[in-house]
């Protein structure tokens, strides 16, 4: 493996991940030695509005996929309205390909807890929840332990560090529903209902949890806050691009030599990421990849030099999403990959709206037909027509996301579909594998 060039290495920006190298960073003692809770002490001396301004100035954008400016979101919370405010952390990581929040919460849970306290202080919330994916049990263990330690040290509870600010923080485990990563579905789930999205407006900023003003932020977003408080907005903006500032954890998986987490300056390209990750595995050539999870349209080898920031990826016809870069080679079939993703969306559709519930159900069946060698040319039109009826017409982004890989794989790899239909590719699914398929 050749060593990456110095200019590529210089794009590495270990900030949020840095403490992962210290095996005991999840303990409060070690965390405090590594700048831990210094940001909280500093923040509690500032006015909450100054903190909101600071986050605005930093240009921090949501790390959960949408990239909404965080400071702006905090600023939407009406102040002096006499209602309780809430901070809810979306730790329901489940987008296929995405695997950055779980390690963060497992190896450095206090950075999230500290971020929660600062953010709650800024938006004047006295209750905060971390809604963590149910299956993330080890991360939840560490997180609950961290919350307990923070209470014991007076970082949580009544009159935090003598500031007069009170905060209760509860770690709430979900129960296995991808849709609860959608912020309004998450709020419904947290209120004890089925996790189904709500109609917007009204937005959570005014009518969120318990119909009160609520900020819902991703783990990575909140964990960034202590660093911005310490290092300042200008320092934060030395990383990333003008409109997509800061470091980002790129999660590389698939047919590469060294899959893993690479925290880099936003705007790095896949070519550079591959260089850091030791390149493609021997015998594999890049065929298609997702820039940010399965809900983002596929890109190809033509897009190796697209800067992976919010604007540039959108200009290339996809979405930055969660920067979960799944890399597939010429030995992987885009039709089959898309089929498996659709099985996922079909399984995870909450059933509330018809386009998503029925559309995904039928598209899965069309894919099974194509992959078992019984597809027709009309099937391809049916797929696009179905996508047309889901995209923008479903209740929330889950349905939209489902269409991404279908339309993009048809755009770039129509030949692969035709090979199944015209019998050049051997059927991937047999009658046997279809029996008992869910």
């Amino acid at each position: 493996m050749t060593t990456p060039r110095p200019e590529t290495l210089a794009k590495l920006t270990p900030v949020l991940t840095k403490r992962w190298l210290s095996p005991d960073a999840w303990r409060i003692g070690t965390y405090e030695k590594l700048d831990g809770y210094a940001a909280l002490r500093k923040a509690l001396k500032a006015h909450p509005d100054d903190l909101i301004q600071l986050v605005k100035d930093s240009g921090l954008r949501g790390r959960g996929g949408a990239g909404f400016p965080t400071g702006l979101k905090w600023g939407f919370i009406p102040q002096g309205d006499g209602k309780p405010h809430y901070l809810v952390v979306n730790a329901d990581e489940g987008e296929p390909g995405t695997c950055k929040d779980l390690p963060l919460m497992t190896y450095d849970p206090h950075s999230l807890v500290e971020g929660v306290i600062i953010a709650s202080y800024a938006i004047r919330a006295n209750r905060a929840y971390i809604y963590i994916r149910g299956e993330a049990v080890h991360a939840a263990r560490r997180l609950r332990n961290a919350v307990q330690e923070a209470y014991a040290k007076g970082y949580l509870g009544r009159n935090i560090l003598g500031s007069g600010f009170d905060l209760e923080l509860v770690v709430h485990s979900g129960a296995g529903a991808y849709i609860c990563g959608e912020e309004t579905a998450l709020l419904d789930s947290l209120e004890g209902f089925r996790g189904q999205p709500r109609l917007r407006p009204p937005f959570p900023a005014t009518h969120g949890l318990y119909a009160s003003p609520t900020v819902v932020n991703n783990v990575g977003t909140i964990a960034s806050v202590p660093y911005i408080v310490l290092g300042g907005a200008e320092w934060w903006k030395t990383m990333g691009t003008e409109k997509s500032s800061g470091p980002m954890i790129y999660s590389l998986s698939g047919r590469i030599v060294n899959p893993g987490q690479y925290e880099c300056s936003m705007g790095i390209t896949l070519r550079e990421l591959l260089e850091l990750a030791g390149g493609m595995q021997p015998g594999h050539n890049l065929k298609f990849w997702t820039p940010g999870g399965s809900s983002t349209p596929l890109l190809t080898a033509e897009h190796l030099d697209v800067p992976l920031d919010f604007e540039s990826v959108a200009a290339a016809g996809s979405i930055l999403g969660t920067t979960a870069t799944q890399i597939f080679s010429d030995q992987d079939c885009p039709v089959y990959a898309t089929y498996r993703w659709l099985e996922f969306y079909h399984h995870e559709s909450c059933g509330k709206c018809t386009p998503c519930r029925e559309g995904n159900y039928w598209m899965v069946r069309v894919y099974r037909r194509i992959l078992s060698g019984q597809g027709t040319y009309e099937d391809l039109d049916t797929l696009l027509d179905t996508c047309d009826n889901i995209l923008g017409r479903s209740f929330c982004g889950l349905g939209d996301g489902a269409t991404s890989s279908v339309t993009s794989s048809l755009q770039y790899f129509k030949q692969d579909y035709l090979d199944y239909i015209e019998g050049r590719t051997a059927p991937k699914l047999s009658e046997k594998t279809l029996v008992g398929a869910h």
Binding site: K42, A66, P96, E135, A315, L380, G397
Partner: protein, 384 residues
């Protein structure tokens, strides 16, 4: 029917106390984990218990319990083995792992071995793609598995052993795990400390460490500016930028043009749009701009700073000037719950044998009455 112990009741009270006093329903998910911890699944008795402690009816609890994958509706084994078969793990070999285990154990998805040890399931993405293919036992990770190692793990489990997960804590039973999911600390000595980071999680960090790379200019004592100062600085910066822009005016149009067509020309030659590429004739509505439909939808769904937010403070919400009080919803729900008492036989309210008959009788009676008559008649007519 299981009678839940006083310990479970005490824990239920503890769970409810975590949430605001008038928001006890928030405790429902952890309570369902709690009853699952007692019985290994959410039984009708478990549903009834949750309904009782929260003052809900069984239909309300049942509706929630059946929505979430992790609430099992049949008794489970001591160990839940979940194999990821989502796309990434699947192409890396996860499907073979699942198929091999299924054949080896003689059970299918969501089924339990006869000895009551193992429940097998294929799972959707477990958020460990850099370790794929992965499987979990009671949600703790075994990374980079292949069919042989997977069979080795389940054989050891069936023989009474407890193999150590690659990451995560030493194994406990599924019921013990459910207690933790209900929000209680893992009491086992050393369990929280188990499991250091695997190499993939550290790859980028190791590279940076080897080459001595860190982010320069980090000063933890950077002062936090007051809002007024920050706004002043921003105004100055804006003025500066505008002055520079005025200087650079002639060059601006070229930059704009480049940004404008970037969206439509990612692919070059013939595959300019998805419609053309797929040879589809179905799309009859022309897109209003040349941005791809995905991007347009994403922009609508995820507005950025430039997009007006309909209910941002200070903007008028046209309809419904009085926001619904949270109380109203609660009261309405409470009234509904009171009017629909639990049926008492494990079925949702209104489901008991007599109910249907009564409904029919009411419908018959309604035929003669004013107003409702025709509608009911046509409905019954339709059924014939």
């Amino acid at each position: 029917m299981t009678v839940f112990t006083e310990e479970t009741r005490a824990r239920a009270r503890e769970i409810i106390a975590r949430y605001p006093a008038d928001r006890s329903r928030s405790a429902l998910l952890p309570l369902l984990h709690l009853v699952q911890a007692e019985e290994g699944y959410v039984s009708p008795a478990g549903v009834e218990f949750c309904a009782e402690v929260l003052g809900l009816n069984k239909a309300q609890v049942g509706a929630v319990a059946t929505f979430y994958t992790m609430y099992k509706r049949r008794p489970t084994g001591d160990y839940l083995v979940s194999v990821c078969t989502n796309t990434m793990c699947n192409v890396l070999g996860g499907q073979e792992v699942y198929d091999t285990l299924s054949e080896h154990l003689g059970v299918g998805h969501d089924e339990t071995t006869a000895d009551g040890k193992i429940t097998l399931e294929h799972a959707e993405c477990l958020a460990a793609c850099d370790y794929g293919p992965v499987m979990t036992v009671n949600y703790d990770f075994f990374d980079n598995v292949d069919p042989q190692t997977a069979v080795g793990v389940v054989d050891e489990l069936r023989a009474g052993g407890r193999p150590m997960p690659t990451r995560g804590a030493r194994l406990c039973t599924l019921k013990e795990m459910a207690v933790q999911l209900a929000g209680f600390a893992d009491e086992r000595e050393g369990a929280v400390a188990d499991g250091g980071p695997g190499e993939p999680s550290l790859r980028g960090l190791r590279l940076a460490q080897q080459h001595g790379i860190s982010v320069p200019g980090f000063d933890p004592n950077t002062p936090i500016r007051s809002k007024a100062e920050a706004e002043k600085a921003a105004a100055e910066a804006k003025a500066r930028a505008e002055a520079e822009k005025a200087k650079a005016e002639p060059a601006a149009p070229a930059v704009q043009a480049k940004g404008g067509d970037g969206a439509s020309a990612p692919t070059g030659v013939e595959t300019a749009t998805p419609e053309q590429a797929a040879g589809s004739t179905t799309r009859d509505v022309k897109a209003p701009d040349d941005t791809s439909p995905q991007v347009r939808t994403a922009q609508t769904r995820q507005p950025d700073a430039a997009t007006a937010v309909p209910d941002a403070p200070g903007t008028k919400v046209p309809s419904d000037p009085v926001p619904p009080a949270p109380r109203d919803a609660q009261e309405a729900e409470a009234a509904g719950a009171a009017a629909n008492p639990p049926a008492g036989d494990g079925k949702p309210a209104g489901d008991e044998a007599g109910a249907q008959e009564r409904n029919l009788k009411e419908a018959e009676a309604g035929k003669g009455a004013t107003g409702t008559g025709p509608a009911v008649a046509s409905e019954t007519g339709g059924q014939k």
